[in-house]
């Protein structure tokens, strides 16, 4: 009896935690979220883009902080080639006041973010995309007026040290898209801070 109960429990648990959200190849929804400069930002705000590097990130998380300069680097390297970064903070500031909109604006100013840093206040976008942690990257490829998910996962294979990186997943995925191919590695995982969902 206990076995059956446990099996049922497991099924319920696994359905709850099954990766909802996007898989590679899915069409990603657009959004309209407030940027740190007060303006609203959408995927449609980038009419000339060939794709968008969507980065779910935040202020407080040490893994996100470790990647901050690398995210800036990605935008600097690829925005001019048609792949800008859009950083989205999905965290509930009630859990971490450091992740409030005011503190996002402060951080963006301090570090001169060259990209949009928007606030997913309702957390709907993080849920639709299936983001679970910060940082969590969704590389989108523009196909006519739709954005297709081309890569999901980590920026590279070493969160602690940029110098020790062996595989630059996002760069390799963009290089593949630029040459008209599908990324060889289209999904990776990395540890990060769980998104702080509203209670």
């Amino acid at each position: 009896m206990k076995n059956i109960l446990f099996a049922v429990l497991l099924c319920v648990a696994s359905s709850l935690y099954a990766a909802d959200g996007y898989k590679v190849g899915d069409v990603a929804r657009d959004f309209t979220l407030k940027n740190v400069d007060g303006k609203m930002v959408s995927l449609a705000s980038y009419p000339d883009a060939k794709g968008v590097i969507v980065v779910f990130t935040c202020n407080h998380c040490p893994y996100a902080k470790a990647y901050e300069s690398r995210v800036i680097g990605l935008h600097k390297a690829f925005a001019s080639k048609g792949y800008p970064v859009v950083a989205i903070n999905p965290n509930d500031p009630a859990a971490y006041p450091e992740d409030s909109f005011e503190n996002m604006a402060k951080r963006a100013k301090e570090k001169s973010y060259p990209f949009a840093y928007v606030f997913d206040e309702t957390q709907d976008i993080a849920k639709s995309y299936g983001a679970t942690r910060t940082p969590h990257i969704f590389l989108l490829k523009k196909n006519a007026d739709k954005y297709e998910v081309a890569y999901i996962g980590a920026i590279d294979d070493n969160s602690e040290s940029a110098d020790a990186v062996k595989e630059k997943y996002v760069e390799q995925a963009i290089a593949a898209l630029v040459s008209g191919k599908a990324p060889t590695v289209s999904t990776t995982k990395a540890v990060g801070c769980g998104i702080k969902w509203k209670k």
Binding site: K2, A13, Y63, C193, G194
Partner: protein, 197 residues
């Protein structure tokens, strides 16, 4: 193993000014080491280093620790000093360790293992002081941020967020993975399913 075995407690004794005091301090260090770790050899003399408070392990070693054991239910918790929900749930795991790690009447035990995924540079400055300060009873090992394939190797369903917990029963196939914070009663119920199947 020896190359990764570090002993953290002795650095504070490096302040001796003369040979006599230095010798006395070394002796007291050994006594402390032996008192807290009865199985440790004569540290400083023997080549066998005392067991470190936080052992640095490789993923291969973790995989060995993830194998089912007929006498025990393994509870492996992935955490970091910077992860608040992880820290909040640690006392529940430690309580489980205190209540079930010793066998009563030949019953299966529960072996709790905390696996730190902190950055390597934070072992001495954050992880070890944290474990000392909190007086964590269950063993703590340090893995560091795992690679993509290693996260899959722990569990295919793990997206990489913390806290995360893997429970492995004594029999093959008894396995559950939770990518969320667990409360004590919940944790105990999960473990009991494998302890008294």
């Amino acid at each position: 193993m020896q190359s990764t075995s570090w002993y953290y407690g002795r650095t504070r004794f490096l302040g001796g000014f003369c040979l006599f005091f230095f010798a006395a301090l070394c002796l007291s260090a050994n006594l402390v080491a032996q008192a807290s770790k009865p199985t440790a050899g004569k540290s400083g003399v023997s080549k066998k280093a005392a067991k470190p408070l936080v052992e640095v392990i490789t993923f291969d070693r973790l995989q060995a620790l993830m194998q089912p054991n007929p006498d025990t239910v393994r509870v492996i918790n992935f955490w970091a000093t910077t992860c608040r929900p992880c820290i909040e749930e640690m006392p529940s795991f430690d309580r489980l360790h205190r209540e079930y790690s010793l066998s009563k009447d030949g019953q299966k035990t529960v072996q709790v293992l905390f696996v730190s995924l902190d950055f390597k540079r934070d072992i001495d400055t954050k992880v070890v002081p944290f474990v000392k300060k909190r007086g964590i009873a269950a063993p703590v090992v340090f893995l560091g941020p795992p690679k993509s394939a290693e996260i899959d190797g722990v569990d295919a369903s793990w997206s990489g967020s913390m806290p995360a917990t893997l429970i492995i029963g004594a029999k093959a196939g008894q396995r559950a993975f939770y990518e969320k914070k667990l409360e004590y009663e919940e944790l105990k119920d999960f473990v009991k399913t494998y302890l008294f199947p």
